[in-house]
């Protein structure tokens, strides 16, 4: 592989990282918001959210990406590839994250929030200062797990023409006729990215154990 192939690989890796990172950031927060709304059990809204989480979790990422990209013009939306890709990944990961947050809510001990309310905290302060920090600690392993699934599923967005870390290996081998070296390097880069997450997850688990939560 020559310098330009290396350059293309790193660019592909960057595309994978930034598109995944944006999707993860939106997906973690949106999942929390959905879990919060579902706590309120608002009729119709609740059923719609159940429908969304079921459909989004059951749809393959490739199908979802294609559907969003191809249907956008019909809906009068002018989506560029990156936005469509982020949308597909976000819709998918949000549904999984919403379930992770929801189980954290369900398992949160009532005694903990009672102790907070008893000191005069409003429900909002109780949520922000007592519930959320504990829920983050207990949910982090599940959330990080979902993050690595998302990164490993991200090559699906190549189907709408985004040149990510997997797609770029095709482009390189089309020129060099040597498919193996670029795909090997791509594999190592994926492992490095996921490795960072696993390291983060281990830190989180150690912290959770230390606090006996």
């Amino acid at each position: 592989m020559n310098a330009s192939a290396w350059h293309m690989l790193l660019e592909g890796a960057w595309t994978t990282v930034w598109i995944s990172a944006v999707s993860i950031a939106i997906g973690v927060v949106a999942g929390l918001v959905i879990a919060l709304i579902r706590l309120a059990r608002i009729p119709i809204v609740d059923q719609l959210l159940v429908l969304y989480t079921s459909v989004a979790r059951a749809t393959p990422l490739v199908t979802l990406a294609l559907f969003i990209f191809l249907s956008a013009p019909d809906l009068g939306l002018d989506l560029n590839r990156s936005v469509a890709g982020i949308l597909a990944l976000t819709l998918n990961t949000t549904a999984f994250n919403a379930e992770i947050w929801r189980s954290a809510f369900r398992n949160f001990s009532r005694e903990q929030s009672e102790a907070a309310m008893a000191t005069g905290m409003t429900p909002w302060v109780t949520f922000r200062r007592i519930m959320l920090p504990q829920m983050v600690i207990t949910s982090l392993p599940g959330l990080v797990n979902e993050m690595s699934f998302l990164i490993k599923g991200s090559p699906a967005i190549a189907v709408i023409g985004i040149v990510d870390l997997t797609r770029v290996t095709n482009r390189i081998s089309a020129v060099t006729y040597e498919p193996l070296p670029p795909i090997l390097v791509a594999g190592v880069l994926y492992m490095a990215i996921i490795g960072c997450l696993v390291w983060l997850q281990r830190l989180a688990e150690r912290r959770a154990n230390r606090l006996a939560m």
Partner: protein
């Protein structure tokens, strides 16, 4: 002093309080008045409604009927029957401090921050001000050496002493103790009771549910006996423990093996 006057100055005044869980009446028309500086102990067998009564005082449990005033302020509902908005309810609740049977310290915060959390985020105290207050309170409960420890590294007795400091930090009108020593190993009960005893000597107003009869006798100004949601006896501790009026209380005290003098 006139009737109206006493209820104005009372730390807690409870009138016609009733509460049912499904079909079971756990509190029936309870009347209770706790004067400022007074220690009231609620005694009764399990299921008599004593914890529910205590939890109604800070509205963790919502009564069906009746009224509760904390230092003259109605809690939970307005006088005209309108439900109280959560912010307002939280303000009245802040006038009470509660100590739970299971401690309920916040595991993600260290000892110091367990105590400073509410003063900072409820009262809006500065971090420095809250930490000064917390330092003094942790010293009072004998936990000065443990500022940086996390709750899971503490013994039950230590946890409960931190929980007491946490409740005191809001400088409440009344402290509510819900069986504060029931979850403790026997050898740790003493250190927690000693702290509560100090507080009573300092003039704190307290309402306490407990099974520690000798302790109740030593610190209380008023003992209340609850049976099936009814207050069937109330008296000063000497009268209550030496010459109970009802057979029910006499039997209860026999079973609890109370020492003849405190």
């Amino acid at each position: 002093m006139s009737e109206a006057n006493t209820s104005e100055t009372a730390a807690v005044s409870i009138h016609h309080l009733s509460k049912s869980f499904d079909d079971v009446e756990v509190l029936r028309d309870v009347e209770l008045e706790v004067k400022t500086g007074e220690v009231v102990t609620i005694i009764g067998s399990s299921g008599s409604g004593k914890s529910t009564l205590l939890r109604c005082i800070n509205w963790l449990e919502k009564p069906d009927r009746g009224s509760i005033h904390i230092a003259g302020q109605r809690i939970g509902v307005h006088e005209d029957g309108r439900p109280m908005p959560v912010r307002e309810l939280a303000k009245v609740r802040a006038q009470t401090g509660m100590v739970f049977q299971g401690f309920n310290l916040w595991p993600h915060l260290n000892v110091l921050h367990n105590v400073t959390e509410a003063p900072i985020h409820v009262q809006g105290k500065s971090k420095r001000e809250a930490e000064e207050l917390a330092t003094a309170l942790l010293e009072k409960v004998g936990m000065s050496q443990k500022h940086d420890s996390y709750p899971n590294t503490l013994s039950g007795g230590q946890k409960q002493r931190v929980a007491i400091a946490r409740a005191l930090a809001m400088q409440p009108e009344v402290m509510l103790f819900d069986e504060p020593t029931s979850a403790l190993d026997p050898e740790l009960v003493g250190e927690v009771l000693a702290v509560i005893k100090d507080l009573s000597a300092e003039g704190y107003t307290m309402v306490m549910v407990t099974h520690e009869m000798a302790f109740a006798r030593a610190v209380s100004d008023q003992v209340v006996f609850l049976e099936k949601g009814l207050i069937i006896e109330r008296a000063d501790p000497e009268t209550f423990f030496t010459t109970p009026k009802t057979d029910r209380v006499r039997k209860f005290l026999e079973n609890h093996d109370t020492p003849s003098s405190a």
